[in-house]
Symmetry: C2
Subunit: 197 residues, 2 copies
């Protein structure tokens, strides 16, 4: 297959693009249990960055499953492909110069490391949005934990499928100990120098 | 599956984003035979738009096959999935506010119309990059026509697989009659009012 493929180089490199767009195209990868507050935090960060004049975009697991990944189910194989495509979506948006914020449970270290490996050092920021299973399950905003406990959903992360905590994430947000505003402030403080050209 | 999915709305709508980014997120979909000059024209348009202060990105068939679509081959089914994902990639970039230029043979009307249907009227511009098969085959920049004639590549568009010309594209660029500079000028003239907020 590869012999039929001839990628064409852009006439504008990523460095030129970053100068034009006055920002670094960093990926901020939020990982954590369902209900840990990834999407809420991601949305708030997206708005904050846009308000500050940056061009940012939130790539959200549920949105992706309604579009690019709507052919995928929840088998182990499909969940891996779901995350692989999420990483590729990230690369597209990042190549276009955007600051990309993602919100995926992305439970396995190997999945997250495979995506990290495709970005330059310093351009991939892994953020562990850490709330205890008890807190996430008690929130159960989507009612999914209840279904997982009842056996209606199989392979649910934290219940009958593992979540591998990041060993050395760039940042940990303890979303069960701090308010949304505090979590956002901590995250924004961490990334604000990284996104500057 | 759908009952487990809860897409989260951005806190910033596309209209706000367009105001912030001072541009309309139009998709410029280039379709035509292999060798018709789609990618060359697309790259030139991308650079022109960036030079003019717009934020544009070229989504190219070959690049996508090295990333998002690298699990796909060239069967009819895989080629359809290739174009479906191209359309979804477009939607992502477009939702992020970018002007998206695509370069895919996208040989079938049904494929192109299915993607068009996902965009608001006026936000999807189909451009037929029209060069005769004879001209494309004589150029044969990638050596693919030779392989297709020799039977080394099956289902090659224009040889043993159909190309359905657009019935009512927004624009036709006769790339075998005009220079690259002239083709770019014609395309840019057509879109420049569409991308303004």
């Amino acid at each position: 297959m590869a012999e039929h493929i001839f990628p064409t180089d852009s006439l504008i490199g990523l460095n030129d693009r970053e100068v034009l767009m006055k920002q670094k195209s960093v990926v901020i990868w939020l990982t954590g249990l369902s209900g840990s507050g990834k999407s809420t935090l991601g949305r708030a960060l997206e708005k904050k960055l846009l308000d500050e004049g940056y061009i940012a975009f939130l790539l959200d697991g549920d949105s992706l499953r309604n579009g690019l990944n709507k052919d995928l189910g929840f088998s182990i194989e499909d969940r891996n492909e779901n995350i692989r495509r999420a990483g590729e979506g990230c690369k597209l948006l990042s190549n276009a110069g955007l600051i990309v914020i993602t919100s995926f449970i992305s439970p396995l270290r190997q999945q997250r490391d495979a995506i990290r490996a495709q970005f330059k050092k310093g351009c991939f920021v892994e953020v562990f949005v850490n709330a205890s299973l008890e807190v996430c399950e008690s929130r159960d905003v989507k009612g999914l934990y209840k279904k997982a406990r009842a056996g209606e959903i199989k392979n649910f992360t934290g219940i009958d499928s593992p979540y591998e905590q990041p060993l050395s994430p760039e940042l940990i947000i303890e979303s069960d100990k701090f308010s949304e505003a505090q979590s956002l402030e901590k995250l924004y403080s961490f990334i604000q120098d990284l996104v500057k050209v």
